[in-house]
């Protein structure tokens, strides 16, 4: 069993999480599904982000083999 040293703790001691060291996938979780969504007066209504997410998913799914995916039981 390998225990990966919790990266966050180490970085927490340093006081911040530098952008370059943040795993992109963790960042995208937050930036594509989190953050304040505002509407009105926008050039691009980011309410369309669900469309975008689906597209990115499709992009990834297209290179993925058949038996990989499974469903998580719990989603918000």
């Amino acid at each position: 069993m390998t225990y990966v040293e919790p990266r966050g703790e180490r970085l927490a001691e340093e006081g911040r999480l530098p952008s370059e060291r943040v795993a992109l996938v963790d960042l995208l979780d937050r930036l594509l599904a989190g953050g304040v969504v505002v509407s009105g007066d926008l050039i691009l209504s980011i309410a369309d982000i669900d469309l975008v997410r689906i597209s990115i998913r499709a992009l990834i799914m297209s290179v993925r083999s058949e038996d990989g995916p499974f469903e998580l039981p719990e989603r918000r």
């Binding site: 926008l42 050039i43 975008v52």
Partner: protein, 259 residues
């Protein structure tokens, strides 16, 4: 100017604006717009990249998306070091300062409410993985002790069925474990949010991600939170802590924008 847009990163209440030595998306400098006692952090961005049509294409490009996400995060993280910060969703582009001012006017109370909810708190991310093949003696797989007479095809089908069952069992155990972890951590948090499990193609991990949670924790309780997480570690489950993050997962304005 018609060929630039205003990219919005974050909103804060603190009029004491820090000097920011970071570049934002597209390597653009960051400035502030102050209105209604709120501060918006913005960059001017070229519309040939950030206009609606170009965006629809570039959001499909993982390299572009990654660069932009990092640029966005640089700014949010730098601001959040100084003051409670409401991060805005990635790629929120206005046509001009006036539109941003109008947003701050119209949603003033909502931003104040969000900022009061996240002040003095940080977001921690917790990911849990299990190895689907580990600790699976799969007794059911051997139970039939398929006699040779049953034929290779039948034996194969039985093995396969048993394999499917044990995979289901393993998955059920894993999700129960995920819920235990989630509940234990939620007890120490002000709020929690479950993100979708990460795609193995993006995370580079082939084992099962059973939990991808975000927890809003009072800053002084961060050590306690990390200790609780350590207490949940055990054989068969790999727990990873990320953060502290600016409260991306907890920056939601309550209602829809007024007309």
């Amino acid at each position: 100017m018609a060929d630039t847009g205003i990219y919005l990163y974050a909103v804060t209440l603190d009029l004491d604006v820090p000097h920011l030595d970071v570049k934002g998306v597209a390597n653009r400098p960051v400035r502030t717009i102050i209105q209604a006692e709120l501060v918006a952090y913005v960059s001017e961005v070229p519309l040939d990249q950030f206009g609606e049509e170009p965006l629809r294409r570039s959001m499909e490009d993982l390299d572009w998306l990654g660069e932009t996400a990092r640029g966005h995060h640089r700014v949010v993280a730098a601001v959040a070091e100084h003051t409670p910060t409401a991060p805005i969703r990635l790629v929120t582009v206005y046509s001009g300062d006036d539109q941003v001012r109008r947003l701050l006017d119209q949603r003033h109370d909502d931003f104040v409410q969000v900022l009061s909810q996240i002040a003095g708190r940080v977001e921690w991310g917790v990911k849990a993985y299990v190895h689907p093949t580990e600790d699976q003696p799969t007794p059911t797989a051997r139970e039939p002790a398929a006699p040779a007479a049953a034929g290779a095809g039948t034996a194969y089908l039985k093995r396969r069925q048993a394999g499917l069952r044990s995979r289901e069992d393993a998955w059920r155990d894993a999700s129960e474990q995920a819920q235990r972890i989630h509940h234990a951590l939620t007890a120490l948090a002000v709020a929690s949010h479950l993100h979708r499990p990460q795609d193995p193609q993006l995370s580079g991990r082939s084992d099962w991600m059973i939990l991808n949670g975000a927890y809003l924790v009072d800053e002084p309780r961060s050590a306690e939170f990390a200790a609780a997480l350590d207490g949940l570690r055990g054989p068969g489950v790999d727990l990873q802590l990320t953060g502290p993050w600016a409260p991306y997962s907890f920056a939601e304005l309550d209602a829809e924008a007024p007309p």
